[in-house]
């Protein structure tokens, strides 16, 4: 047998390690994607055996022109994404920084902030929220974060804005367990000698946050951003997920369901692409770009 060069050998070893994934990609990713594109461009005429007929862009135009529910729902989801994602990121970063300090009761707080993840990532949570507990907790959050008397002086417009904001916050907080954990992991990775050196040079904590913490956290921020987006799009609280599945499975319109899925995906890809483009130069020591 001819002896392999070291480079070729290394390459073979690498492929060996990722071979299960290569197989997985072919079966569980690439093939379904191609099928899905085909499906979104056709119509199932016979359900038994899934016989398809070419339908062109009919499914897509149906989503935008014929279906009166899809577009408003879609716009709503877009709006929610743009509002919720930054709030989630900011709050989970703040909480992660708070529980990262050495203090009494640290492990208690860490456990508490991870509880919602255990409580159920989607469906159980939806039920718990649906039972009216959500509203109670919102009232609780409101009472603690902002005393009633204080609100009375500020006029209805402001109160309404605060109400809307707080209502969101509670729901968002419950969904940010994993993000907090990921941020915490990132914060733990920053060496404390950096802060000490900065402190010796007369840097305040505020400056240290903007000049040390934030730049070093950019890769984690990117990861968290992607996680938040994916999570919000597969969440069973998301009305559009329900809608697509109902349409697809209950009405047996796989083609239309797939088409809506693709419209949805294009939006996610667009958002993620924009964020990648924006963060590309700003990510320090980019974990994602090392590959």
């Amino acid at each position: 047998m001819k002896k392999l060069t070291i480079e070729k050998k290394r390459r073979l070893e690498g492929i060996l390690f990722i071979s299960p994934w290569l197989l997985g990609v072919a079966i569980f990713f690439a093939n379904p994607i191609i099928q899905s594109i085909r499906l979104s461009l056709s119509k199932i005429v016979k359900f038994k055996g899934f016989v398809m007929k070419w339908y062109g862009f009919g499914n897509y135009s149906k989503a935008f022109i014929w279906d009166i529910n899809f577009v408003p729902m879609f716009l709503n989801v877009i709006k929610d994404t743009f509002i919720n994602t930054p709030i989630t990121l900011v709050f989970s970063l703040i909480i992660a920084m708070l529980i990262n300090r050495s203090m009494k009761g640290q492990s208690f707080f860490r456990t508490v902030f991870f509880l919602p993840v255990l409580l159920g990532t989607g469906h159980v949570m939806k039920q718990v929220l649906g039972m009216g507990i959500g509203e109670d907790a919102m009232a609780v959050a409101k009472g603690i974060l902002m005393p009633e008397e204080f609100m009375r002086y500020l006029g209805p417009a402001f109160t309404q804005a605060v109400d809307g904001f707080l209502g969101r916050i509670t729901l968002i907080l419950w969904k940010s367990g994993v993000q907090i954990i990921i941020f915490l992991a990132g914060l733990q990775g920053i060496s404390s000698s950096l802060y000490e050196a900065a402190h010796c040079d007369g840097c305040t904590s505020w400056e240290a946050f903007w000049k040390i913490t934030l730049p070093l956290m950019t890769p984690v921020l990117l990861l968290n951003f992607i996680y938040t987006i994916i999570d919000s799009f597969t969440d069973s609280n998301n009305p559009i997920v329900d809608y697509i599945l109902n349409y697809g499975f209950k009405n047996n319109q796989f083609g239309y369901g797939a088409a809506m899925g693709w419209i949805f995906f294009l939006f996610i890809a667009l958002v993620c692409g924009l964020v990648f483009a924006f963060m590309r130069k700003r990510v320090y020591n980019a974990g994602l770009k090392q590959g």
């Binding site: 708070l98 609780v140 954990i181």
Partner: protein
């Protein structure tokens, strides 16, 4: 920002002097105030997090009268275990518990085995196209289930995998399944942070790549393995979406699906109370007891792994210093 940095104390007089000095400096008071404010904020946030949980446990122990009585919010007049018994029976807990355990453990094992191996390949080997392939890993994280679910359903239907546990467990062994990409990403990030020297030393000593991975890298990545195990367990246990697609025969359903059945019965009774034909009338307390029973195994597992999980999180090397 540490309150009261303790200086070495020589004797009483000087310690009093130090104390006096401390109390009169502005920074000392500022620190105390800042610390107190941060504690209050944390407690406040913690309460928002704990509230639904406490409410669930307490409601699950209430009697029917307590549920209607608005003065009973936190302390039930009598602890009513009966709810749990009814919930256990109507969930058929023991038989469906087995289903859930089988699926969750198989999928978790699959994720840990496959994702660590794949991630090692991506972290340590550069070859033509490896960048693009890792891009596909990221892409597989982004593509929502809605796009893939219809073709996957068709594929599983052709293979005759519907109403078996195969669609939920087999993809996990190939680095796919529920958020497989994320686990590959986490492991890769960890492996990148490890020094090369150990592997080089192993190679010089004649250790093959597979052996290096299994007997050197894997034991070193215990913390990452633990984090993946906890997250994978929790996500698979609670997952409702995929099981509800592929398992529609009642015999093979998992606990979350059973729970959802109870909840919909409860909601239905609220709407048409006159038509309540079932012998058991589900009240809110029973529903809460059922929810608690479903998440209880996860809580127990987490209680055991909590400390090491947090340590693992701290060592996951996400910022890669």
């Amino acid at each position: 920002m540490q309150a009261g940095t303790s200086e070495p104390v020589q004797n009483n007089a000087s310690s009093r002097k130090v104390l006096f000095h401390k109390l009169t400096t502005r920074y000392f008071w500022k620190d105390i105030v800042v610390n107190l404010a941060l504690y209050l904020l944390l407690l406040d946030l913690a309460f928002v997090f704990l509230y639904p949980f406490l409410d669930m446990i307490i409601t699950s122990l209430k009697t029917e009268e307590d549920l209607l009585d608005i003065t009973v919010q936190w302390i039930p007049s009598k602890i009513f275990w009966q709810n749990y018994k009814i919930a256990l029976d109507s969930l058929s807990y023991t038989s469906f518990f087995k289903n859930s355990v089988v699926v969750t453990i198989l999928a978790t094992v699959g994720h840990v085995l496959s994702c660590s191996c794949i991630a090692y390949g991506f972290a340590r080997y550069r070859f033509k196209g490896s960048g693009i392939l890792f891009g596909i890993v990221v892409l597989s994280m982004i593509v929502p289930v809605e796009v893939l679910i219809f073709p996957l359903y068709m594929m599983y239907s052709r293979l005759g995998w519907l109403n078996t546990f195969l669609p939920l467990t087999v993809p996990a062994f190939f680095g796919f399944g529920l958020r497989g990409g994320l686990f590959i990403f986490l492991f890769r990030q960890f492996f990148i942070g490890l020094p090369y020297e150990i592997e080089e030393a192993a190679r010089i000593d004649g250790c093959g790549p597979l052996r290096t991975f299994s007997s050197i890298m894997l034991p070193m990545s215990q913390s990452s393995i633990l984090v993946s195990i906890v997250l994978s367990l929790v996500w698979h246990w609670n997952d409702f979406f995929e099981p509800s697609m592929y398992l529609f025969k009642p015999k093979v359903s998992l606990l979350p699906a059973r729970l959802s059945g109870i909840i919909s019965m409860f909601n239905a009774e609220k709407v048409v109370e006159d038509y309540a034909e079932t012998e058991i009338i589900f009240n809110e307390a029973i529903v809460m007891a059922a929810i608690f029973l479903v998440i209880l195994p996860i809580l127990i597992v987490y209680a055991f792994l909590q400390k090491r999980f947090m340590e693992g999180i701290e060592r996951s090397g996400l910022t890669g210093q």
